[in-house]
């Protein structure tokens, strides 16, 4: 089962985890949460602005999930990614992967995030006290 959500609103990682666990008998569940760091190399981050290319982002993330599901025989895959303006500490992205054995769940989870970082059309701009700066890609 694959779910992909791209939304402006905050999400609740606890609720998402709870739903993933409902009726679960899969053995291994790996989740990743990426959040807005309060401090980067450029100083104290006030806000993070995330721009995205809606239709393409949905398409790419869904395709990535589908590839991961097939390759690692996942029982469950949930991906949520925010756009808009976020504050430090807020969650940007969450990925849950479930499978019978842990190796598959870890590998699929990391694959999804790696792939998403390279291909999904989102762009981050860090907003500091007196300036703002588009984040540069680091792979």
């Amino acid at each position: 089962m694959i779910t992909v959500k791209i939304q402006k609103e905050k999400f609740n990682p606890q609720k998402i985890l709870k739903n993933a666990e409902k009726g679960k008998e899969y053995g291994a569940l790996v989740s990743f949460i990426g959040s807005v760091r309060g401090e980067t190399n450029n100083g104290k981050v006030k806000k993070l602005f995330i721009e995205h290319y809606k239709n393409m982002a949905e398409k790419i993330i869904y395709k990535t999930a589908l590839n991961a599901e097939k390759k690692w025989n996942l029982d469950y895959c949930y991906i949520i990614h925010r756009y808009g303006t976020l504050k430090a500490g807020e969650s940007i992205v969450m990925v849950i992967t479930c499978s019978k054995h842990r190796k598959e769940a870890y590998a699929a989870n990391e694959y999804i995030i790696d792939w998403l970082k390279i291909n999904a059309p989102f762009w981050k701009k860090e907003i500091f006290e007196n300036q703002s700066k588009w984040v540069e890609q680091t792979l």
């Binding site: 721009e51 393409m56 982002a57 992205v93 999904a120 989102f122 762009w123 981050k124 588009w134 890609q137």
Partner: protein
Amino acid sequence: MRVLYFAKVREIIGLPEENIDLPSNIQTVEDFLDYLISKENKYDLALSNKEAIHIACDEDHVDKDFVLKNTKEIAIFPPVTGG
């Protein structure tokens, strides 16, 4: 053709999207970028460092030698930084 700009490219060009009729001598993405760059200073500023410009045609990543024949929507943007 619908042309979309994102992030820094959008900011420099000053608009999120526009419609541009493709001149008949333009075949590839590369041709199209060169056409924009020669058109106006703001495009030159936004797009001249082609290494830092990525392209999607009809929502798929493409290389610069992609042929624009049936493309309805082209998106021009810096390397993505999501996740």
